[in-house]
């Protein structure tokens, strides 16, 4: 069994309640930082830990914190990103539902480190029942003196609120999230200025993912060095992986960074192998946005080394033969999966979720969806495959926020690794039997 730093107590009965959480050592990190009264020392420990943002981009958390501007007399904010909308990702939901006080403890400790007196958890609207769980836990934290005025006699004040979204993938992008939190449409902002300088209400702001903030708790408790001792290379600590698709044991797994991908897929400790004894065809390893890899390249790098669950190993070979750890949304596809059909599904998603600000993304995602629909239904040409490639290359890197890249990479990687399958759809349309149309009915009101 690998080391666990976040979910080690997940099976303790009642761990979702304040009493049990406290009995297992909960809120110790808050006691520690309030006693030490040295916020900068916390930032140093986080730097030492090597913790990288768990929301997808993997930016070093300690560094992000040290960029926070601290002008005199201006409020600072910590905003937790609990929007979790990247397809294939459900770890934050699991953590918040099962052990909500871990996030709240992390929010208090992190807010103290950053000097924030008001903090927000921005949660996607569809997680309504989780919002209720968090609100209950926050109430318990207030009642026990961990939130509010003069926390445990330290003179430190902190209010913590949960803000609800209303269905928009783009609001997971940090500046869109801030716009949404200000009561506006979720249109990403042009950077700079970065949120660290001008974020929520124009004030210095740190935005961090749920899992990132939870990881601050073991870092403060045991020190940055102890955290950095877990994992390999620049992938320190543990990572929550959301495993789904054609596997025997889907679910959320806390892994020590460095577990071989092959072990993760086939070991009974994790995914337990491919469902129904089928063969592995492909994996999307880090949420729908990262490049898809065929079985041989996800299990081994192009150089023939075992692929590991780390930022570096998954990225080995660049986009030519590698992918990204991303959010840790690990989607497994068996040999019966149609890559073309799956890609059309992803492209439909990105078209639906584009905020519409940048033309390459707004128009390009729609074109890609249409072309894929055409190919999928047996009306495609070889030129269409090239056109798809051309379009994705003209979206990547040409938009305000990385949603454009996220829409382009799945298309590029699917064509790169599975071009033959696209050609098969074009050359032998009669071989396509699995295309269903939503059936037609009449005389019903359009909602």
């Amino acid at each position: 069994m690998g080391k666990k730093l976040l979910l080690q107590n997940i099976d303790v009965p009642g761990i979702n309640t304040y009493e049990v959480y406290r009995k297992t050592g909960g809120y110790k990190s808050v006691e520690k930082v309030l006693e030490q009264k040295n916020p900068d020392a916390i930032v140093e420990e986080v730097k030492k830990s090597g913790l990288r943002g768990r929301g997808g981009a993997g930016f070093p958390t300690g560094m992000k914190w040290s960029f926070l501007a601290k002008p005199e007399g201006v409020a600072r904010y910590l905003v937790c990103n609990a929007d979790e909308s990247e397809p294939g990702t459900f770890k934050d939901r699991y953590l918040m539902e099962k052990i909500p006080h871990l996030l709240i403890e992390g929010m208090i400790t992190s807010s103290y480190a950053l000097g924030a007196n008001t903090s927000f958890i921005y949660i996607r609207g569809e997680y309504f029942y989780v919002l209720r769980i968090l609100e209950k836990a926050i109430k318990e934290a207030y009642e026990n003196g961990w939130l509010g005025k003069n926390i445990k006699g330290s003179g430190y004040n902190l209010d913590l609120y949960v803000q609800v979204g209303a269905g928009a993938y783009i609001c997971g992008e940090e500046t869109a999230l801030l716009e949404s939190l200000e009561g506006k449409r979720g249109n990403p902002r042009i950077k700079p200025p970065f949120p660290a300088v001008a974020g929520l209400y124009g004030c210095p702001t740190v935005v961090n993912n749920v899992e990132t903030i939870a990881a601050v708790v073991p870092i403060v408790n045991d020190g940055g060095d102890a955290y950095a001792a877990v994992g390999v290379e620049r992938s320190t600590g543990t990572k929550l992986i959301s495993a789904s698709g054609h596997i025997n044991k889907p679910g959320v797994y806390e892994i020590e960074m460095g577990v071989p991908v092959e072990e993760f897929i086939y070991s009974d400790e994790y995914c337990g192998g491919i469902k129904n004894g089928k063969k592995l065809k492909a994996v999307v390893a880090g949420g729908s946005s990262v490049p898809i890899l065929p079985a041989d390249l996800i299990l081994k790098t192009a150089a023939g080394n075992p692929r590991l669950m780390t930022y570096e190993s998954l990225a080995d070979g660049g986009f030519a033969t590698g992918t990204m750890l991303g959010s840790g949304g690990f989607i497994v596809m068996d040999e019966t999966t149609s890559i073309v059909k799956n890609l059309w599904n992803f492209s439909r998603f990105y078209h639906h979720e584009s905020c519409g600000q940048c033309s390459p993304c707004r128009e390009g995602t729609g074109w890609m969806e249409k072309i894929l629909h055409k190919i999928l239904h047996g009306h495609g040409t070889i030129k269409d495959i090239d056109l798809l490639w051309d379009i994705q290359s003209k979206i990547e890197g040409k938009t305000i926020c990385p949603l454009g890249d996220a829409a382009a990479w799945p298309v590029a990687s699917a064509i790169r690794h599975f071009r033959k399958e696209f050609e098969e759809y074009v050359n032998n349309p009669e071989s396509i039997q699995d295309v269903k149309h939503y059936f037609n009915v009449h005389n019903v009101a359009e909602a």
Partner: protein, 176 residues
Amino acid sequence: MKNIEFSEETLKTIREIINRYPEGKHKSALIPILHIAQSEFEGWLSPEAMSYVAEILNIEPVEVFEVASFYSMFNLKPVGKCVIEVCHTSSCWLMGAEDVINHIGKRLGIKPGQTTSDGLFTLKTVECLGSCGTAPMLMVGADFYENLTLEKVDTLIDACKSSGKSSSYLVDKMLG
């Protein structure tokens, strides 16, 4: 059509929400209030409801519309009493979401985006709801139904029919 007006109790909750934000930043309360409005006013946001919310926040109605129209959870047209939202993204898709959607559609005689003529059901397709490990899944109100089979779907539809289960979820959940 219900009167477009919140109860005293709801208004109290709304004032509490507004007080979370710094002075002058009360527009931050818009999305939470729209959720309440949608649940109190029959599951959708009519132009009257949006104007009413604008009045409460002292902003222009168009500012409310601009926001309401951006987010997929807000319905700008009337919906059935029970809104069935089926995830049709990646993992759910791999695990049979298409069959679930077609099954519900056939049983109710509607396509995604439509409402049954008796006003009981609306069928919506939605993007990944973070239940990919328990796919396929659907949501009614605030409740997740996971690891779906067609039998489970039938049981749910029957239950909705006989109980008149309503997805005006936030009424009890947000104010409970």
